[in-house]
Amino acid sequence: MSGNAAMETKSTSVGTIEVSGVSHDYQTTKGKVAALEDISFSAPAGKFISLVGPSGCGKSSLLMVLAGLMTPTRGQVRLDGRVTSGPQPDQVAVAFQDACLLPWRSSLDNVSFPLELRGVSRSEREEQGRQALAKVGLSGFADRYPRELSGGMRQRVAVARALIQRPSVLLMDEPFGALDEQTRMDMGEELLSLWDEIRNTVIFVTHNLTEAVYLSDEVIVMAAGPGRIIERVTVDLPRPRAIEITETEEFLHLRNRIWRLIRSH
């Protein structure tokens, strides 16, 4: 299964996202709290974009809005020019921080769950599921239950499950946030090599700036109270990127610039 095959099946969907004037208010006992205020940006197809910012800046809320899992108080999201409401499983896949695997299903049954929901036949599901597991290096773990896997492996299963949807847009909400630093960077490296084959649009929420710069074409920096975009930083480091790039001067310069942006708000 190559990236090309995946591209062919979605000729009508390329994964351009336009967010215009999205605001979201929470109602609390102390009154209204603005989680997001007037967020607008567009993500061209095939770009890897990270959302960073302090906790409470609404980056996860924004991702839930993009996923169609949360309806914003105001504003709209367009996917390839079409205003969306609700989840778009044919185009958009979501990976959450805790892998959200169904504990009573094996890795294989978890990975092929999106296909089962679409009514794909068992044999087809199994074949695609095994291929997806192989892609994330878990061929030998098809029959394992989630709790029999390490945190990193569970997250790999979750990534494989997202990719089996062949999404033109992949939304990731701090997917490696619960992992240790070493595993986190390994996972980032693997994600990049997978993405190099697929080149779909990725929106990646993280609070780890090294991870954000290493992975992305663009880093959107957000601030809290109310959640808003303060700057969009273009990362024009060459691809493919090896992990060693994180030690170069250019990299550190970008990383520090984003760090100062976050500190100054």
Partner: protein, 278 residues
Amino acid sequence: MTAVLDSPAGENTLPTVPRRGRRPSSVTAWRLGVVAILLLCWELLPRLLGIPSGFLVPLSEALQAGGREGDAVLAALWPTVSAVLAALTFTWVVGVVVGFLVGSMPGLRFVGTFFGILYAVPFVILYPLLSVWIGPGQLSKIAFACLYGFIPVVLTAAAGVRGVDENLYRSARSMGASRRQLMTKVLLPASMPVILSGLRLGGGLVLIAVIVAEMLASTSGGMGTLITAYRVQFDAAAVYFCIIVVLVLALIMDQSLAAAERWAARGRSVTVNTVAPG
């Protein structure tokens, strides 16, 4: 490119989790040993300590009484078992459906609160009324047992559904699960271990209720009626035999549910372990 992916890098520490399977045979041996010792004590202690047989009958005498009264016990078994089965079917099916609805629909939460309050009522006081309204036969027994077992099944099922991790629900929704698929493929299996522990709880109560009803007023026979009859005749050995029969019934029901619970909890770290009331 895939070289990186083929080896799960930096992760040679897999948690060692026992695979599904039987518990070690030494544990089984221990359990059987304890049961054997208890049975032996039952047989020997009354004789050694000279306990009057009105208080505690040695095991062998109870079993002999079973041989003597075998036909009566057999005849009493069916009314009890059939009432239990009928009440179980109702409480389990209706209880789980109601509990599922109460747990998954925020608008129905008040029903759960209502049942919670009702649960504090000692339903035994209702049996005399029921037997007057419906007559002291099988039907009033079954109705009484349903009343008794229904609420814990509803409350546990509702709590089980409410306890399902919201993220599982959200992630399934992002994959395009329909309402029905969310129910059958996420909510139901996710709450199944808890629901089953509720069935166990309700099952135990149904059995209690049927026996109590038979002891109180029923004229339709059954183990409870028989126990009362032997008690009145001062036939302690037969009373003990009937108790053994009821215990075996309870064990069969409880253990088959426990097995179902283990199956439903496969792959999960939480092992729900409720002791059936008794």
